[in-house]
Symmetry: C2
């Protein structure tokens, strides 16, 4: 039976980290809210269900038969071995999960650059605070996170082509997406700093060229970044603005 992915329609958002894994593996999956006749209503129905015992707090979530799995890192931990995108060594799977959870934190901080105060307000209502938070993010947090990932990558005992182990995992795919998103949101800041992360950039480029990923990125299934998602391009928040 096909995996069912549930996420907000119209944005890449957190759902994209799961999509990339499903696409790379050529897995049989349905992106439910984008199906004519199902849409976002099908997702809200589960989230508001009275009968479902394990409703998720928020999308994305995956449905595999009767099992509902929320949270990107949890979904990838579950799917990784089934899709051939997790390390074979069981203990390395906890290393992969640790890296994925660091990406999770990085994504949340990237989101908060445009929503530092109140999720229920528009960006425009917290613009000044967003500028202050973005400056700190660009100055301190991007170098801290990317520097960390570069260090882990270059010290991988199996070589610097993968974050963990000797083959592609979902962590590599998620880092590709992270760099895509940061480059969309903060093009000037990223242009300045890219030279400092050569191994990460090489990993990003290698992922983009994988046949299934390249085909996916060129397809209509890959939505464009936009200002409804996690990574938003507000030029006034970028470096030098």
């Amino acid at each position: 039976m096909a995996y069912e992915l549930y996420y907000w329609d119209g944005i890449q958002g957190r759902g994209e980290f799961v999509r990339l894994a499903l696409e790379e593996a050529g897995a049989d999956y349905v992106d439910v809210t984008r199906q004519p006749g199902r849409g976002t209503g099908a997702m809200l129905e589960i989230m508001k269900s009275e009968g479902e015992p394990h409703i998720p707090f928020a999308p994305p979530f995956l449905k595999d038969g009767d099992l509902l799995i929320p949270h990107v890192a949890n979904i990838l931990f579950y799917l990784g071995p089934k899709l051939g995108l997790a390390p074979e060594d069981e203990s390395l799977r906890f290393v992969a999960n640790g890296l994925q959870l660091t990406i999770t934190d990085f994504v949340a901080e990237a989101h908060d650059t445009h929503h530092p105060i109140d999720l229920s307000l528009y960006y425009e209502d917290q613009k000044q605070e967003a500028k202050a938070r973005s400056s700190a993010f660009i100055r301190d947090r991007i170098p801290k996170f990317l520097g960390y990932f570069e260090r882990v990558l270059t010290r991988n005992p199996q070589g610097p082509n993968h974050m963990v182990g000797n083959a592609l995992t979902y962590v590599d795919l998620s880092l590709f997406q992270m760099i895509e998103g940061l480059t969309y949101a903060f093009p000037k800041a990223m242009k300045k700093s890219k030279a400092e992360y050569p191994a990460l950039l090489a990993l990003h480029d290698a992922v983009a060229k994988r046949p299934n990923i390249a085909r996916y990125l060129a397809s209509p299934r890959r939505l464009a970044f936009n200002e409804e998602g996690i990574f938003r391009r507000y030029p006034e928040l970028d470096a030098g603005s």
Copy 2:
């Protein structure tokens, strides 16, 4: 061999979620940075190690033999089955992990109430923004998260004594700690809202009375909350201030 827990000395912080599991299970563990002769230096040595292939981004992390495991939810996913604090049913372990990751997000939001703009600055330097973020947190986020957990708890097919399955898991222990922390940081807001979450409060009280937990809470190993940790009591951020 004893588990080694690494976390900042002097605060409960994120390390506390792991400590509660180790204490409940009566596990053999060392809280490394609190050991005379080891201290925080022993932790920084690992984090800055040139030789260690899988350095963590941040504490807490657990060392089990050669394996280093970072991130609370990852540590608990790993330890849960070994400590008898995870569901026996494998698919329910992903449900537990999903709940734990929702707690992780809640903890991060609780932290950001006093640091909404810049981690490298003091609270005093972002006080006004902290007040705005705390107001939104108290108004929208506490009810959203606690309401969600109450709903999951009361709909557990195995009964409302545990978050998942028919026995105590690390998720129950973490929710105990979450309620402890919120009650410390926002006593007025929590006093007002507690009546809305009777099942959660009953779970909190039941956890506090478990013999190993009660013994731990009364011991010097349980540090007091303070204004260096995640949950801080700044009366001006509480409800009605």
